[in-house]
Structures are given as structure tokens and as C-alpha cells.
């Protein structure tokens, strides 16, 4: 039933807005993203009366918006890639363990999941930022904290039912070790779920980074993360709308195309997954 046609438009958008710039930022950015041109502060974009030197205009310190967005893609990719790998790995590992071992292990892991869901992540992020000071790693820590529990819960659920299936029982009778059963028989069967979830969560990470920046607890300035760019320009909605509009657009397009890809992947790999 699922359409097998590759979603070309989202894919192209993703390459254009996120992956391309992340790889090539150094080559294609017209300016140093940190370089202030104090004489060219708040220049409008070229199509709104600005010059070609700063195509998408400049911010209040005269930094090139386009260059900052292009370099920002790099942080977006880095944060979401590292965040998702760590979050998914931790969550899935604990989910596998809990679902397979059951008993006390399961009880402990599931309580941790409960706790993690019950503590509002934004408040936790605020507290962490106050304790350790805002930093790249603090942002990552919050992202992992937000992600791991949903992976753990989903994977555990699937493992619980998989371990009762015939092929697992056969492997056990044949004398396979627990590790072998987990890695050879169970993991491959939850791999699709993990992949689809991971894709869908990428967008969540990018938005979370923006929210943290809004609260002043994201990656510290002047690092041009997209969230910081939007948060920093949000006050100039009337006179210098371009400061926050273009980074906002970059977030919108990236997350939108990631979500479309995620939907497509789900239809293909794991249509029963009801994760949101």
C-alpha cells in the first residue's frame, strides 16, 4: 500500500537547506560568519533595497545573515546527529535490556522512563544551564534526556512481544547466548522502528535547540546556531525582519522536509508505528 516513490522535493530541500550548507559552508559562505562589519549594520537583503555584498542582509552587529545561516546548518546537523545517535543508542539499549531481561531490570528502566517523562524538559534544561553554564554539551545533554525515554519505551514494548516469538525460542533451544539472541534475532527486528523514530525526532531536536536559545540557555553566542539567530532577531520584527525571518525559514524548511521523509520512511518500513 505504501507509496514507494522517493519524496524528491523534501529530499532536495533537505540537501539545499541543511546538508549542502553543512558540508560546504566554508566554500560557499560569502563572509566570515563571526566578522562584524560595523559600518554595515542592519543592512536589508538585496531584494528589499540592500546591496549584493550582503545578500540576505546583516544583523545588528553587521554580520552577514546568509553566512551565519550557512554555518548554522553545520551546528544544526552536528547537534541533531550527535543528539539522535546518543539518545537513540541509550534509549534503545535500555529498552532492549528491559524488554529482554524483564523483572527487576524492567521495573527500574520503566521507572526511569516515567521520571524522565514527568520532569518537564525545559525546566530541567534551565536548571542544567544554571548549574553548568550554557554550552554545546549542556544542550546535547538536554536533548539526550528528552529523547532516550521514548526510544526505551517503544523498543521495550516491541522486544516484549518479540521474545515470545518462535524464532527466538528456537535460538534459545539451540543454545545461543543472550547477547547473540539480542544482536542477531531481536535487534534486526526493531531496527526499522528505531530508524523511523530517529528520523522523526530529528525535527524535534532542531526545534528544541531553538527553544533553548529563546530562553537564553542554548549554545552560547556568538555561535550562529539557527535557534540563536531567530531568538536574537525576534525583537526586530518590523524594521529588520530579515534577521529572524531567514533563519526561521531555514528551520521551517528543514524540519518540514525531515518530517516528510520520516513519514515516507514510516510508511515503508514500519507502518504500524504510532509514535508521534
Amino acid at each position: 500500500m505504501a507509496s514507494s516513490r522517493l519524496p524528491v522535493i523534501p529530499l532536495a530541500l533537505l540537501v539545499l537547506v541543511l546538508l549542502g550548507p553543512a558540508l560546504l559552508a566554508d566554500l560557499i559562505a560569502p563572509h566570515d560568519p563571526y566578522q562584524s562589519h560595523l559600518r554595515n549594520r542592519l543592512q536589508p537583503p538585496v531584494f528589499a533595497g540592500g546591496g549584493w555584498e550582503f545578500i540576505l542582509g546583516t544583523d545588528r552587529l553587521g554580520r552577514c545573515i546568509l553566512s551565519r545561516i550557512l554555518h548554522g546548518a553545520r551546528y544544526a546537523v552536528a547537534i541533531s546527529a550527535v543528539g539522535i545517535v546518543l539518545g537513540a543508542a541509550l534509549g534503545s539499549a535500555l529498552g532492549l535490556l528491559a524488554g529482554y531481561a524483564r523483572g527487576w531490570t524492567d521495573a527500574v528502566v520503566m521507572r526511569l522512563v516515567d521520571i524522565s517523562f514527568a520532569l518537564p524538559s525545559v525546566l530541567l534544561a534551565l536548571a542544567l544551564a544554571v548549574v553548568f553554564g550554557p554550552s554545546f554539551s549542556a544542550v546535547l545533554a538536554v536533548i539526550v534526556f528528552v529523547l532516550w525515554a521514548s526510544f526505551a519505551r517503544q523498543v521495550r514494548g516491541e522486544v516484549l512481544s518479540l521474545r515470545e516469538r518462535d524464532f527466538v525460542a528456537r535460538a534459545r533451544v539451540a543454545g545461543a547466548s543472550h547477547l547473540r539472541i539480542l544482536s542477531r534475532h531481536i535487534l534486526p527486528n526493531v531496527a526499522n522502528t528505531i530508524t523511523v523514530m530517529a528520523t522523526l525526532q530529528l525535527g524535534v531536536i532542531i526545534l528544541l535547540e531553538a527553544t533553548l536559545s529563546f530562553l537564553g540557555i542554548g549554545v552560547p553566542r556568538p555561535t550562529p546556531t539557527w535557534g540563536l539567530l531567530v531568538a536574537d532577531g525576534r525583537q526586530f520584527v518590523v524594521s529588520a525582519w530579515w534577521i529572524s525571518f531567514f533563519p526561521g525559514l531555514a528551520i521551517l524548511l528543514s524540519v518540514l522536509s525531515i518530517n516528510l521523509l520520516g513519514d515516507w520512511l514510516r510508511d515503508r518500513l514500519d507502518p504500524r508505528l504510532q509514535q508521534v
Partner: protein, 541 residues
């Protein structure tokens, strides 16, 4: 009186939208009702503490319209005057006995009667109690109060305090509460609505939203405010504040300078305090001498050549433009003000020569100091922080980084909230460059001893033998002329020491809607910058 010309058409960028929207709004019937002409809505930054117990705050006074201090400030010059409950005061020769004479006509709101010395004694006890955490409390504490009659009393101080009046006006850390109300209703009465003697009476405090005041008809002073209801609302988000002004929901908005041009472009007006209300500076952490707790010879800025280089790396004209929209004065020396003791005009004359923008000289100085090779850790940590009333601090940090990078200094911005920063400074381990403000502008001697001598322990930025000597002499002296001389020496010493990075001297500004507000004169002499609420002049209906 600061007056504004009235505008006709405004906010052109949204005119087309509104035209279409109006019809639809009428149809839906959900448009907000227009505010009544004499009701004024003011939007301010949320205060650090929302409570009617002023003594349990650090001095962030949000009861201003209703509660008065013993003395007041002149609306134009900001000088301490007798416009509030006391009509005269005297002091003895050595500044240890201060006598105040209360106005017999001064009375509390409601039926709480006239102000008597009993109310002053009661208020003094509240503000100096164990629960009190007010700024500058040492100026107030330790006095013995002698009641001479119902309207006369004397504060006997344990040592000379030439700046004692600053506790009663300006900083103003002793509000006059009603003893009768306290005896009748207890602390709960204050929590609900304390009776004051101001031109307005507090009617409601809504946590997280604001405070509402109502003008007192036939105020004892003979002046009655033209504004009938003063609705003060607390909003933190700058974009929302601007929107409230442009949408016509607010009449007066404390808008960050960066956004003021957005308001003026739409024909809103900017009002400023008649005097500078605040000084800003960037401080070098721990300029201490060996043996002082927190002394750290590894800090790159312990080398005076680096401090000079940093000061010279900064183009202060650009700084004024970016941070304060061009409406600020370059500060020559933190804590030094032309109106205060020990003002040294020659420092202002020499300023360009010694502190002026000169990246070449800055690079030379760095070279002479052997930067960066000769330094264990050459990276300069610059603190970016937010503080209510100083939205420019994060931008300031970024700008300093830009200027420092330019001359070859290695920098790193660290984001930190004001509380954490305070904790670090209190532990004397704030090995960073951090922003600081002086608001309201303190009396010179007080500012000098708190920020630059061990008297300010734990948060003092300089501690050297020479400065200690000056501070001790300054505080011991009761001869005004001599104090001035010593203060001047201290300013000169700190100036030559490049003890910090002076930034600006700025007025307190608000954006106002000229369709509803004609003007407002306030001197910028109080802790929150605003005062004289009864002088808000609304457009007559």
C-alpha cells in the same frame, strides 16, 4: 516639562492590514475596547521581587506611586528635596545626628491618619529588621531614633555618615508605612495593600501581571494627578512590549534602546529622565594585590598594559551608537558624575588621549606585554548576561569581543545569569570581565568604597594598598572639601590604573504614545529610574 509633538498618521507598515482587519473585527466583535483617556498603562520589566514588603526586596521599588520616603527628589535636577513627608532637616557638624521635621498635613491613604514620628520609627524597624535584604542597608542600620515630638525625630548614628540622606531619597530604602494599619491589620494588611502617602494608592497587585494604582483625590500635598488610574504591567519579552505599544494597548513602555527606533519610525516619542540615571561599565575581575583573598597573578589583565590595550581597542562612538542609539554619554570614570563629590574635569579632557580608540597603540601595548606568548592563559573570558533594565549587556559582550579580536586579543564569551555571576564574585573567584551598572548613581565616596576597596567585600573589583588608604581617609573625613579632594585623588588613581572599562552614562528612557501622553518629567534619581508618577501628563479628553 518634557513635551512631545503630537502625530497624525502612524505605523504605516500596518495601515493596510488594519484597514481590512477593522471591518472583520467589528463583525467578530472581539476588538479590545479603547482605553479611557485618563487611565494610563505603563509596561515595565518585571521587578526582581513582587511583594508589598519593600524591606524584603533588594531595593527594586515597585511601590513608587503609592509609597514615599522621608525626603524626595527634585523632578528636574534630581537633587534631594523636601517634597515628601519631611519639610525640613538638620544635621550636626560631624554628620552623626540627623533631625527631621514632618509635615503635619501629610497623611496616609484611607483612614489611617496623619504621618507621625511613630510611623517613622515603625518603618525604620521594618527596614532594618533581620528580614531586610535591602541594598545599601549599612547606610541605614545601627541608628538610634530619638522622638522629640509627634513631628520631630533625630537619627543618632554610630559614626559619621555624610551620605545618610541617600538612604532616604535617591536610593530611598526606607518607605514610610503606616503603624496604625500594621497594628490593626498586621502584615496581612500590607500584603493586601499597604497605605502610603504618595499621590496614588495601591489598589491591586496581580502576581506576574502587574500593579494597579488609583489617584488619591485631594492629596494632602495639594497636587492631584491628572491620571486617574495607573496600570503598571510587567512584561519581559521585548518583542511583546513593542507590540503592546504599537497596538495601542500601552501608553508608556520601557523599551530596550535597540527597539526605540522601531517606535520612533512609527511616530511614537521617546522620553528621557532629565539627568543620567545610570552608569555602565565592564569590570576586570580581581585587580588585587598579593596577599588579598582572590589574588590571581595569572589573569592576563593583571598586566596594566593589557587593560589599557582593551580600553583603546574600543571605538566608543560605535559603542554608543549600537548600544544606546546614540543617546548616551561616554563615561570617563565609573562612579564619577559631574554632580557628585570629587568630580575631576581634567580626566574628561585627557580621556581621548588615554582611553581613546587607537587599535595601533593597543597592538603595540600587547606586543610590549608579550601577548599572547608570555601568558599562561591568554584567553579573555567576557561575560554575557541579562539583567532587568540592562538589555544591552549581551550586545555589549559581543561588541567587546569584536573590538578585542580586531587587535589580536583572544576572547571567549561566557553566558551566565546575574545570580550565578554574583555567587562567583562573592566567592571572589570571578576571574572574568563582567558588566556592572551604577543605578541610581551613588554618592562618589560610597561608590568608590563599595566597588574599589575592601569595604565592599566580598564584591569589590580593586583592592590595593593605595586605594585602601584613600578609601579609609575618605570615609573618615567629615570635611566636605577634604572628602572631595580625596575622592578626586581616588578617581585619578583608578583612571590611571585602567581599573575597568567605563562605558556610558545614560538617561532612563521610555517610549510613549503621543496621542495619549503629553509629557512626564522625572529626574532619573531613583533605583528604578522612574519616579514622580503624578507628573505624568495625559492628553486632555
Amino acid at each position: 516639562m518634557t513635551r512631545i509633538s503630537t502625530s497624525t498618521e502612524r505605523n504605516p507598515s500596518f495601515r493596510w492590514l488594519r484597514a481590512g482587519g477593522l471591518a472583520a473585527a467589528l463583525a467578530l466583535g472581539i476588538a479590545a475596547p479603547p482605553a479611557e483617556a485618563r487611565d494610563v498603562t505603563i509596561v515595565l520589566d518585571p521587578p526582581s521581587a513582587e511583594t508589598n514588603r519593600f524591606w524584603e526586596t533588594s531595593g527594586d521599588n515597585n511601590l513608587g506611586p503609592a509609597m514615599q520616603t522621608l525626603l524626595g527628589n527634585d523632578p528636574v535636577t534630581g537633587e534631594i528635596d523636601t517634597s515628601t513627608v519631611a519639610h525640613t532637616w538638620e544635621v550636626n557638624e560631624d554628620f552623626t545626628s540627623w533631625t527631621f521635621h514632618l509635615r503635619p498635613e501629610a497623611e496616609f491613604h484611607g483612614d489611617w491618619g496623619p504621618v507621625t514620628t511613630a510611623d517613622i520609627v515603625h518603618s525604620y524597624q521594618l527596614h532594618t529588621s533581620n528580614d531586610s535584604i535591602l541594598t545599601g542597608l549599612t547606610l541605614l542600620r545601627g541608628a538610634e531614633l530619638e522622638v522629640l515630638d509627634d513631628h520631630t525625630l533625630t537619627f543618632h548614628l554610630p559614626e559619621p555618615r555624610p551620605n545618610f540622606l541617600f538612604a532616604h531619597a535617591g536610593r530611598g530604602i526606607m518607605l514610610i508605612y503606616s503603624k496604625a494599619q500594621y497594628e490593626a491589620e498586621g502584615i496581612e494588611g500590607y500584603d493586601a495593600a499597604p497605605a502610603g502617602t504618595g499621590h496614588f494608592r495601591l489598589t491591586e497587585r496581580r502576581i506576574g501581571e502587574g500593579v494597579t494604582f488609583e489617584a488619591v483625590e485631594d492629596h494632602w500635598s495639594g497636587e492631584t494627578s491628572a491620571v486617574s488610574t495607573l496600570d503598571i504591567r510587567y512584561v519581559a519579552e521585548p518583542a511583546t512590549k513593542l507590540a503592546m505599544l504599537l497596538a495601542g494597548e500601552a501608553d508608556i513602555v520601557a523599551l530596550p534602546r535597540e527597539l526605540q527606533s522601531e517606535a520612533t519610525e512609527a511616530d511614537y516619542a521617546i522620553l528621557s529622565s532629565t539627568n543620567a540615571a545610570m552608569q555602565t561599565a565592564f569590570m576586570f575581575g580581581n585587580i588585587y594585590e598579593e596577599g588579598v583573598e582572590g589574588y590571581n597573578p595569572e589573569l592576563p589583565w593583571m598586566d596594566i598594559r593589557l587593560r589599557e590595550a582593551m580600553n583603546r581597542a574600543i571605538d566608543r562612538d560605535v559603542l554608543m551608537e549600537v548600544l544606546y542609539d546614540g543617546r548616551a554619554e561616554k563615561l570617563v570614570r565609573f562612579m564619577m558624575d559631574p554632580r557628585g563629590e570629587g568630580y575631576a574635569p581634567e580626566l574628561a579632557e585627557r580621556f581621548d588621549e588615554d582611553y581613546g580608540y587607537d587599535p595601533e597603540r593597543a597592538r603595540e601595548l600587547l606586543g610590549e606585554a608579550g601577548y599572547p606568548e608570555a601568558f599562561a592563559d591568554p584567553v579573555i573570558p567576557i561575560i554575557s548576561t541579562t539583567l532587568g533594565g540592562n538589555p544591552e549587556f549581551p550586545v555589549l559582550a559581543e561588541l567587546l569581543q569584536v573590538f578585542f579580536d580586531e587587535v589580536g586579543l583572544q576572547t571567549e564569551i561566557r553566558e551566565m545569569d546575574w545570580g550565578t555571576l554574583g555567587g562567583m564574585s562573592r566567592a571572589r573567584t570571578a576571574f572574568v570581565l563582567r558588566p556592572m551598572r551604577n543605578a541610581p548613581i551613588r554618592p562618589s565616596v560610597q561608590g568608590l568604597s563599595i566597588f574599589y576597596s575592601s569595604a565592599g567585600n566580598p564584591i569589590n573589583f580593586v583592592e590595593t594598598a593605595q586605594m585602601e588608604e584613600l578609601a579609609t581617609a575618605m570615609n573618615a573625613s567629615i570635611d566636605p572639601e577634604e572628602r572631595g579632594e580625596i575622592a578626586r585623588d581616588a578617581f585619578t588613581y583608578l583612571y590611571e590604573l585602567y581599573a575597568d572599562i567605563p562605558v556610558a552614562s545614560v538617561g532612563y528612557e521610555v517610549a510613549v504614545d503621543p496621542d495619549t501622553i503629553v509629557g512626564w518629567t522625572y529626574p532619573g534619581a531613583t533605583a528604578i529610574g522612574l519616579s514622580h508618577w503624578h507628573l505624568i501628563e495625559p492628553v486632555a479628553e
